[in-house]
């Protein structure tokens, strides 16, 4: 607990506004106890500090400042001098009511307009998101198509003919590029039985090895399809043949039916 003497050392800085918060709080707590001696010293210090204003050089403000100030003061003096009550009428002039009404209308319009703009922004954002998704999808399709074209056109791709079990039926063709994958194409392919799909198999060269399951083939209404296998389960060198069989819907880890189409990898 500080005594008056210790607080006295703080009073000049307090009047100057230079005390840090803790010391200021302590001094104010002491002053709030009603210490008359310290209060008198504070008053003297405040007067002393007020004299520092003279340390700044006097400078004349612009005439425009005085002009603005006097215009405001004269305006306020005139409005104060006018009577405020008009007999039999509201003390609020009609133009004020009109202004309030206009303000109210403007406020309602602004709110409505703000909500409309928010809706438009939200819809625009949704449209932008949809367009972005479509663009990404298109880019993916384009990349696949480009890869398919590269495989089909590259002279190093190996051509594989997949003959059908029905010699009168259509034949499929595949092209296998050692780096880019396999493309398999077909037309007029009969649709598989109900609840069944066509599934591609890679038949390994290794004796006794099981056929490696691959992707499912979904011909369109005209029996046409193009299938790209980007990452075949076996390398071309390790594959003896490609085969396609009819399997239960969803595919199967091993063949359940004899191949409908097959062709050796030369």
């Amino acid at each position: 607990m500080k005594n008056c003497g210790q607080f006295r050392d703080l009073i000049e800085a307090y009047a100057l506004g230079a005390l840090d918060p803790e010391e200021r709080a302590a001094l104010e707590a002491h002053l709030s106890t009603g210490c008359a001696d310290c209060a008198k010293v504070v008053e003297e210090a405040r007067w002393l500090v007020s004299q520092l204003a003279y340390a700044a050089p006097e400078v004349a403000p612009s005439d425009m400042l005085k002009g603005r100030l006097m215009q405001t003061v004269r305006g306020e003096a005139q409005s104060e001098a006018k009577p405020h009550v008009i007999r039999g009428k509201s003390t609020i002039p009609l133009w004020v009511w009109a202004g309030i009404a206009a303000l109210l209308l403007f406020s309602i319009y602004s709110t409505w307009n703000m909500r409309r703009l928010q809706d438009e922004i939200r819809q625009a954002n949704e449209r932008a998101a949809t367009l972005l998704q479509e663009r990404q999808k298109t880019e993916q399709q384009l990349a696949l198509a480009k890869r398919e074209a590269m495989i089909l056109m590259d002279p190093t791709s190996v051509k594989i003919a997949l003959k059908g079990s029905d010699v009168q039926g259509p034949q499929l063709e595949a092209k296998w590029h050692s780096e880019w994958g396999v493309v398999i194409m077909g037309e007029n392919i009969p649709m598989p039985s109900p609840h069944h799909v066509l599934q591609l198999w890679f038949i390994p060269k290794k004796a006794g090895a099981m056929p490696m399951p691959s992707m499912m083939i979904r011909p369109d209404a005209n029996g046409k399809f193009v299938l790209l296998v980007s990452n075949p389960p076996e390398s071309m060198d390790a594959t003896k043949a490609l085969a396609i069989s009819e399997e239960p819907e969803g595919g199967s880890p091993w063949p359940n039916n004899p191949p409908r189409y097959s062709g050796g990898v030369s």
Partner: protein
């Protein structure tokens, strides 16, 4: 009663400011204009010293004098002279602007937005005209040591605290406290000796 607040010593003369403030309470525009003419150079000089920018300083001075016009009745005339009160209000407003400008939102309770309380003149103080007061203070300031003067100016014109001044000058906190206290006491002694 009102006039008594503006008299001093044995002469009990009514100061020109007291007469003008009486007329200001009657909403006398010409009294306001005379008060402005009498003190605007001092107030503007002080505010400009704090803010360093003429346009902002003029805004603050306009605000100060409009407060005087609108709230003259709130000035506690029975407790102290007019000019120190006016300068205290101007300094508070200017420092508030300075703090807002530098985004230092911290406000001090001793520098509030409302009008300041009256600044009481001590017993040893006699009523001097403004010109002589200014000459007296300006003559005493160079008698302070450069460090005392710098520390006091940072506190008064820039609103810095002890800690902020110590950081700005890269000096120990205790040293800064001593500079400010001893400098103000030296100023006080000088003012007492010249009255």
């Amino acid at each position: 009663m009102f006039l008594a607040a503006f008299t001093s010593g044995s002469a009990r003369e009514v100061s020109p400011d007291a007469t003008l403030l009486l007329r200001l309470l009657q909403r006398d525009v010409s009294a306001f204009e005379q008060l402005y003419d009498r003190h605007s150079r001092l107030v503007y000089g002080l505010v400009l010293r704090i803010l360093q920018q003429a346009p902002t300083s003029e805004e603050v001075v306009q605000d100060v004098f409009l407060q005087l016009w609108r709230n003259a009745d709130q000035y506690d005339s029975s407790r102290g002279p007019f000019v120190p009160w006016l300068c205290t209000m101007a300094r508070n407003r200017a420092l508030d602007h300075l703090r807002l400008k530098s985004e230092r939102q911290r406000r001090r309770e001793d520098l509030p937005d409302e009008l300041p309380s009256a600044v009481v003149a001590p017993d040893y103080e006699k009523i001097l005209d403004e010109k002589r007061r200014a000459e007296r203070v300006r003559a005493l300031m160079p008698s302070l040591s450069p460090q005392q003067k710098k520390a006091i100016e940072l506190a008064y014109f820039e609103g810095l605290s002890h800690s902020e001044i110590a950081a700005a000058l890269k000096e120990p906190l205790g040293t800064v406290k001593s500079w400010i206290r001893n400098g103000l006491l030296r100023l006080k002694e000088g003012l007492q000796a010249t009255t």
